[in-house]
Each structure stands twice: as C-alpha cells, then as structure tokens.
C-alpha cells in the first residue's frame, strides 16, 4: 500500500509541507526520458520514497525494468527480486553491473499495450546516515515493490531488495539518485516520477 499519496498531493498543491504529515514531495517529474536523475537531495529527512507511475502505450517499449542508483557505477552491490508472473512465483537476482547500467529493482511485462499500467515505489530508509561496514554504521539498503498489469498478456508484481556494498562510492548518504527504464526507450506521456522525503 502506498504511504499516503492522497494527502501528499493536497499538500503539494497548496505549496506546503506541513499540516501534520511526515511526507513531503521533494521533486516531481513528468519527463518522458528513460533516465531521470534527482540531484542535491536534501539530507533533512529520515527516509526517501520514490513513486513512479507509467500509463499504457501502443508500442512495445521494451522490458519493464527499473533501475535505481546513487552512482553511475554501482559496484559492490546486489539486488534480489521476488516476483509473481500470473500464477508463478520466481526470483531474479543480480549483483555488480557495468558502468552506467544500474541495478534492476523491478520486474514486469515486456509487451505493453494501451491497456497496461505500471506502478513502482521504492524506499530508502535512513538514507542520510553515514556509511560504514561495522555494527555501528552500515551500507545502503532499500526496498521496492510494484506491479505491471497488462490484461492482454500478463500481470507481474514484485518485491525487491537492494543493497550496496561499502567498496562502492554509491553508499550512504544518498545525495543523488538516478532511475531509468531498462532499455532506454522513451516513456509514454503521462509518466510521473515523484521523490518524497519522509520525516
């Protein structure tokens, strides 16, 4: 279940982050570029939360994979995705990826039609902590979940784990975040990516 997007939308429209809600929109983008980078992320929140919605499109625009990274070279990292494809459960795992490629955080349909819809959300808890490899400090951890639904072909849902290793420059604190659609194909109009801070 989303954190509370309805209240966030109201606060955002009013230009206020108050009202008792702990969720504040940092930036919303409707760019149709496959890759989007959030820069200069404030270090004043406890958690980061990204919500990404994609409407249907008449073309097949490639694998519905999402990548998220704090650095274009996320060495020393891994993701584990537990997904459901119709009635089948399976896993997809990956570790260090080539430069600029990012870590897969979502799994979905690769034949998207006008009737499809995608929803992805990712959470980076305590993203502004200092990095470390011991018991008092740590490396980055994140959780993702979402679904890609296409009544003409298949339905996917997934739960993702993502962690980054201390040897990378991509560890805590997160100051920059790039999310991109897998094969670089432009996204359909109506795509929305919003980064929230949670106090």
């Amino acid at each position: 279940m989303p954190f509370g997007a309805g209240k966030v939308a109201l606060l955002g429209a009013a230009g206020s982050g108050g009202g008792g809600s702990s969720i504040e929109p940092i930036q919303t983008s409707t760019s149709t570029a496959a890759s989007l980078t959030f820069t200069s992320i404030p270090q004043t929140y406890k958690h980061l939360w990204l919500v990404w919605t994609l409407p249907g499109n008449s073309s097949n625009w490639g694998n519905a994979y999402t990548y998220a990274e704090n650095d274009p070279v996320p060495n020393y990292s891994a993701s584990h995705i537990f997904y459901d494809h119709d009635y089948s459960l399976a896993i997809y795992q990956t570790d260090e990826q080539p430069a600029g490629y990012g870590l897969k955080m979502a799994y979905g349909d690769d034949s998207v039609s006008t009737s499809s819809v995608q929803y992805h959300e990712f959470l980076w808890p305590y993203y502004s902590d200092a990095a470390g490899s011991g018991t008092t400090s740590r490396w980055l951890g994140a959780s993702g979940s979402g679904y890609t639904g296409n009544p003409n072909t298949a339905f996917y849902s997934y739960l993702t784990a993502l962690n980054e290793y201390g040897g990378s420059t991509a560890t805590l604190p997160i100051t920059e975040l790039t999310v991109k659609f897998g094969d670089g194909t432009a996204l359909p109009s109506g795509t929305t990516r919003t980064l929230y801070g949670i106090n």
Binding site: G4, S22, F82, L89, I91, P125, T135, S137, R138, L159
Partner: protein, 180 residues
C-alpha cells in the same frame, strides 16, 4: 491518508535484543513501522534470522499467529501457511553476523491495523515486507508476512520488536508512524 511520525527506537547505545515502542497513541486508524536492522548472531544461509513482533510486550500468552511467503538466495521458499498460538509474530529476517563480507542491513516496512481494541473479535492485524540483498546474493531474501494478535478489546499501547537470535546491532533503528 496522512502519515505522522510518532517515535523512533534504535540500538545505538548498545546491542539490544528488544526494541520497544511505548505509549502508542490511540488516535490513528493504523500504524506503520519503517526500519533497517541486523543481528549480531551467526546465521547460516537462508531465512534463519527471525525478527518478530510482540504486541503489548506479551511474551507468554500464546495469542500471536502469522504466515509467510518468501524467497531466498536459492529460490522461492515453501510457504509457511500458518503458525498459531505463538508467543511472537514473525515479521522479517536478516543475514546475521558478517556474511558475504559485511553486516548487511535488511529493510522492513510493517503495517498494523485494528490496534485500538475497539470491537471484540477484531484482532490486531499486520502485514510486513522484509528484504535484503547481499554481495553475490548469498544471503538475500524477500518476504511478505501477515499475522494477528488476539487482543480482543484490549488496546495495543506498546509494541516490542524482537531479534529472536542475538541482539539488534547498533545501526538498527525503526520509525513508528500513525496513519489516518
């Protein structure tokens, strides 16, 4: 729906078996916990760590129940289709003491419903997600949990987060939010 911060617990000062939220307000529709953690215990591969909830810090009244759907480094796991009359309710796992070269933190999101004991036969319900990916995925997992606590009309005013094997190590911490 709003999300309001209530409190934070952590093991910053010392490794701790139980982290406890107390004085939980009775003014929200539901609660959410967001956290990150690990234990100092040496665990073998797979989901052998146990993060559990104990409502109202009850440790012996056998009123918890839970189930789990999960995957680990090796594939999809056989479902735990129900554990009943337990003294705790599982809601997550972790990798333990330095597997794959480090103390990898697991990420947790836990939603708790019907916690105010407003009507009989409306037990506390929770839904949890626990995820972790380690280097080369040797100790990775992703899991959904669902469970209940048979509180009847007794309000939940405290909640114990238990590391069942070893203590929460010091970077572990959790935020409690109210939702309405």
């Amino acid at each position: 729906m709003a999300l309001e911060f209530i409190a934070e617990v952590d093991a910053n000062s010392t490794d701790t078996e139980n982290l406890v939220f107390t004085g939980i307000p009775q003014t929200y529709d539901s609660l959410r916990i967001v956290g990150i953690g690990n234990t100092d215990y040496s665990l073998s591969q797979g989901m052998n760590g146990v993060f559990s909830l104990q409502f109202n810090e009850q440790t012996s009244d056998s009123k918890h129940a839970y189930m789990r759907v999960a995957s680990d480094y090796n594939g999809v796991l056989t479902n735990n289709e129900g554990t009943y009359n337990a003294n705790y309710a599982e809601c997550g796992s972790m990798s333990g003491n330095a597997p794959d070269g480090g103390y990898w933190p697991a990420t947790y999101i836990i939603d708790i419903y019907s916690y105010k004991g407003e009507a009989s036969n409306h037990d506390v319900q929770y839904f949890s997600r626990s995820v972790l990916a380690t280097n080369d995925n040797n100790y990775s997992h992703a899991a959904y949990y669902a469970g209940t606590y048979n509180n009847g009309t007794t309000a939940i005013t405290s909640l114990q987060l238990k590391s069942a094997f070893g203590n929460w190590i010091r970077f572990s911490k959790f935020s409690l939010y109210g939702r309405d």
